[in-house]
């Protein structure tokens, strides 16, 4: 299981190379591994159906209780099969869809990275492991949304998705850490037994709020929903895979996974019902307005995700089964519809519903597949979507709270879903053909194969719902609700109120379809007068951040070296001296050692050089005087028995003088610009800083020195580090990690100077 994830990561690394070598068959090459994994996971069906879970654990950070541990039960198996199965279809499709794109190799790299992360997410046992994979999916999603990075809109949408899901991710991390602290374990498999412990914990409310925020942001629930329609900037296979089938389902997965641990409280049910309900109804109302097929699909996806959240929140045993079957149906029909949209877009150059029409005669296979998928979306029998919607109604009719409101929301959502399905198929495929929007040629097999497989699976799963339920859905449900006996699913329930609702939904949905343009005009008019919503809020925050940052930069980094130095010295002096006084003042040494003649001469030279530096009117003289100070200090080091320090000080001084000489000729002529008052202030600050340093030095030598460290290094340097130079053994052995960090910073500084000098735009170099 762990190796399954590793193998996909490995394939990701090989993907660019493989694509370059064998471009015509790259899609099939990429699909081979997910197909194999899909079969592998399906072979585990019997084990998980029997209630077994498989576990794999690799050590990672044992001191923090963080392990790279994975486990497979009914729920993770269902998701893993979907990730791999849909993934394989997407790979085959993408190779043809992006055949002309120059970066197909890196596309496969990111797509495989995403698939590996998604697999890791649904298989993770350790909460921190889960979080790492969770964030990896956000990151790869960023690269995939912004894949056509030449376009502004793609870049800003990618950033928006990253920021929104990233904020959710931070909340999730906090929530998961709290869960770990409260329960004393980070392993999901152990947490599943300690739900009561967490529900009664004082941190229960913050935990639920934080975790739910993470899940809502990822699954595009209100008020985080706006990133998903914008994410449609991604290439269509990405939208099909990440933004309808898998990544946005991660939030659903998390809520399902954690509902035995966090669920069964009023807070949990109330919040999920409210957010899910608002999202499913609100976004389906937005969906019908859209004319871009992809944006329409995106809004219906948000609505379906809302329905799933709503169902997970409902306080009825059957609702989990409803959520899971609704999800499976959604994955199959929605990915298929996305891929068909991509085909239409490719063939006609447009995905605008108002510009398309009459395509059925030109591409009948695609049209049939689209109808299959759309019928499942509308919830018609005998498709899987029908089962999902029947369960949805059945559960809502039993809703314990706010039943009339829930029923109304469910009914309206389903009706508009039918309308959306009709819009997506009737508009492009039937009606008068547009001569300017006709396909250029036949559609490649690799393109229509994927949607056909997905839509076909949705149909077959509906017909053979008994088998699917027993092998795939029921184990997933019992993983979430252990011990509950679930009633087997079936297509036909007899003449029940639910069936009446279904027929009513279909009929009204089609009726609404014919009134659709009127609704569009009305909402268009309305939205022109009202500009508010979650996205406006995001944009305000985003631009506000930039405004504040640029104002702050203007104040703090105004480009005057003098002010920088003043700030540094004043704050250092004030902070250090107040800390000193706070801790009981300074103790001065009681014993004064005698000073020899050499020291006095050195001190005299340094003082004289310092005076010259501050008084002289020529820059070159000042630099030389500064050098004298540095060399004087180096000599003091040498005299006090610190040859390493002295040598380093000497070389640093030399380098400083060298650097000064190099930039010297480009500085303006030396002149005293500051008024006398400012200079007097500078003198006060300088004196204060100098006095503080003197006081600190005196204080440092006044007390008895703690010799433990010095003794340790003196004793250990030869036996442990094989060296007699203690300074060097500390640098390269005892504290080698610090040194590694320091030289990394040094290297960065060098490259930074280079970048500042070389990458500055030419026209701005000389003001």
């Amino acid at each position: 299981m762990g190796y399954a994830i590793c193998s996909v990561f490995l394939l990701a690394l090989l993907a660019p190379g493989l694509t370059r070598i064998a471009k015509p068959v790259s899609g099939w090459l990429m699909a081979a591994l997910p197909l194999t994994l899909c079969v592998y996971f399906l072979s585990m069906l019997d084990a998980t159906a029997g209630g077994l879970t498989l576990q794999v654990t690799w050590p990672w950070l044992p001191d923090l209780g963080i392990r790279l541990s994975f486990f497979l039960d009914g729920l993770s198996l269902l998701f893993a099969v979907l990730v791999c199965g849909v993934g394989a279809v997407i790979m085959i499709y993408s190779a043809d869809y992006l055949a002309d794109h120059k970066c197909l190799g890196s596309f496969f790299l990111f797509l495989n990275l995403f698939m590996a992360s998604m697999l890791g997410l649904v298989l993770a046992d350790n909460l921190i492991t889960l979080f790492v994979f969770w964030e990896l999916t956000s990151l790869t999603s960023f690269f995939l949304i912004g894949f056509d990075h030449d376009r502004d809109k793609a870049r800003s949408s990618a950033l928006q998705a990253l920021l929104v899901t990233g904020v959710g991710g931070l909340a999730l991390l906090a929530g998961l850490i709290l869960v770990g602290e409260a329960a004393g374990t980070l392993e999901l498999s152990e947490l599943l037994q300690s739900g009561d412990l967490i529900r009664q914990h004082a941190w229960y409310v913050p935990i639920v709020l934080l975790v739910a925020t993470g899940a809502f942001a990822k699954s595009a629930q209100f008020p985080f929903h706006f990133w998903l329609p914008n994410a449609m900037e991604a290439p269509t296979p990405v939208s099909a895979y990440l933004h309808s089938a898998t990544m946005v389902k991660a939030g659903i997965y998390l809520l399902l996974r954690l509902s035995p641990i966090l669920g069964q409280t009023a807070l949990w049910h109330g919040m999920l019902e409210t957010v899910g309900g608002v999202t499913m109804l609100g976004s389906i109302l937005m969906a019908i307005r859209q004319t871009d097929m992809k944006r329409l699909l995106a809004y219906t996806t948000i609505s379906s995700l809302g329905t799933m959240v709503f169902l997970i929140g409902l306080d009825i045993p059957l609702s989990i089964a409803a959520a899971i079957s609704y999800m499976l149906a959604h994955v199959l029909y929605k990915a298929s519809l996305f891929l068909i949209t991509g085909i239409i877009d490719h063939a006609t150059g447009s995905r605008d519903l108002s510009a398309l029409g009459g395509l059925f005669g030109k591409m009948p296979v695609i049209g049939l597949v689209a109808i299959l998928a759309a019928l499942s979306m509308a919830g018609a029998a005998p498709f899987l979507g029908f089962v999902g919607k029947e369960l949805f109604y059945e559960v809502v009719l039993m809703a314990p709270r706010a039943a009339p409101l829930s029923i109304l929301a469910a009914l309206l959502t389903s009706i508009f879903m039918v309308t959306s399905a009709a819009l997506l198929t009737v508009r492009p495929f039937f009606g008068p053909a547009r001569s300017d929007r006709l396909p250029h040629g036949p559609v490649a097999t690799n393109l229509w194969l994927g949607p056909l497989l997905l839509a076909g699976a949705g149909t077959l799963a509906g017909v053979f719902i008994g088998i699917i339920d027993k092998s795939l859905l029921a184990p997933a449900v019992s993983a979430v609700q252990p011990g509950h006996s679930v009633k087997p699913l079936a297509l036909w329930h007899g003449f029940t109120p639910v069936l009446a609702f279904s027929i009513l939904t279909l009929a009204s949905g089609i009726a609404v379809y014919f009134r659709c343009d009127w609704y569009r005009a009305w909402t268009e008019n309305w939205s022109r007068r009202h500009h508010y919503g979650a996205e406006t809020c995001y944009e305000r925050l985003y631009s506000g951040l930039f405004t504040i940052a640029s104002r702050l930069t203007l104040i703090i980094q105004n480009g005057r070296l003098r002010n920088y130095l003043l700030t540094v010295f004043i704050s250092a002096t004030v902070l250090v001296s107040s800390t000193l006084l706070w801790n009981g003042g300074i103790r001065f040494p009681t014993v004064w050692t005698s000073v020899n003649f050499g020291d006095l001469i050195l001190a005299g030279i340094i003082l004289a050089a310092a005076y010259v530096t501050s008084r002289v009117g020529h820059r070159l003289v000042a630099i030389v005087a500064m050098g004298v100070i540095g060399y004087g200090i180096a000599l003091i080091f040498a005299q006090l028995g610190a040859p390493d320090l002295a040598m380093t000080q000497f070389s640093i001084e030399t380098m400083t003088v060298l650097l000064f000489i190099l930039i010297f000729h480009r500085l303006p002529l030396f002149s005293r610009l500051a008024p006398r008052r400012a200079m007097r202030f500078d003198a006060v600050v300088a004196t204060a800083a100098g006095l503080l340093m003197t006081a600190l030095t005196l204080a440092a030598v006044s007390g008895p020195t703690d010799k433990r460290l010095a003794d340790f290094f003196a004793k250990q340097s030869v036996p442990a580090a094989h060296g007699r130079n203690i300074v060097n053994t500390i640098l390269v052995d005892f504290r080698a990690l610090d040194t590694l960090g320091e030289i990394a910073v040094l290297g960065m500084a060098g490259v930074g100077v280079w970048a500042l000098l070389k990458l500055w735009p030419k026209e701005r170099r000389k003001p």
Binding site: D733, L746, G747, G750, V751
Partner: protein
């Protein structure tokens, strides 16, 4: 282009002092040798990769003042930015050697080899680590010096 040119702007290689360039040509190998000497003896006596790298950079800096950027680059052969990366990789490699032997990252490994008779030599990964520091320091300092000297 050296810094002294500003005195006579526009004239390339103005102010090239024969004394300085001859001295630089003569001193250069000695200083470099000295820096290598400091690097090698650093573990037991004053010295080490940091100061060695600085002194090597000073040697190239002297050459830069005496000649010009192109000459110095030719002498250096490798772009100093590459040196920084190379040095970091060397340091990382020395740390990973212990890790591959199943010890914590950056654990030092030591080997004692007999040269002839009584002469033994003790070599360990810290020396490689120090060499990495040397390269990073040299590379970083030269990146700054050359960037400043080229800037015009």
């Amino acid at each position: 282009m050296g810094p002294f040119e500003t005195v006579a702007k526009g004239k390339k290689k103005a102010m090239r002092s024969i004394i300085l360039s001859t001295a630089a040509r003569f001193l250069m190998p000695m200083i470099l040798l000295f820096s290598a000497f400091l690097l090698l003896r650093g573990h037991n006596l004053p010295g080490g990769g940091f100061v060695g790298g600085l002194i090597a950079a000073a040697a190239f800096g002297l050459y830069l003042l005496a000649f010009d950027v192109q000459e110095t680059r030719r002498l250096l052969r490798i772009d100093p930015r590459t040196l920084v990366g190379l040095g970091l990789l060397v340091v990382l490699g020395s740390g990973l050697t212990g890790w591959f032997k199943g010890k914590p990252f950056l654990t030092a490994l030591w080997g004692r080899y007999r040269l002839t008779g009584f002469l033994h030599i003790e070599i360990g990964t810290p020396l490689i680590f120090d060499a990495g520091i040397y390269l990073v320091v040299l590379g970083s300092a030269m990146t700054m010096l050359l960037a400043l000297a080229e800037e015009d």
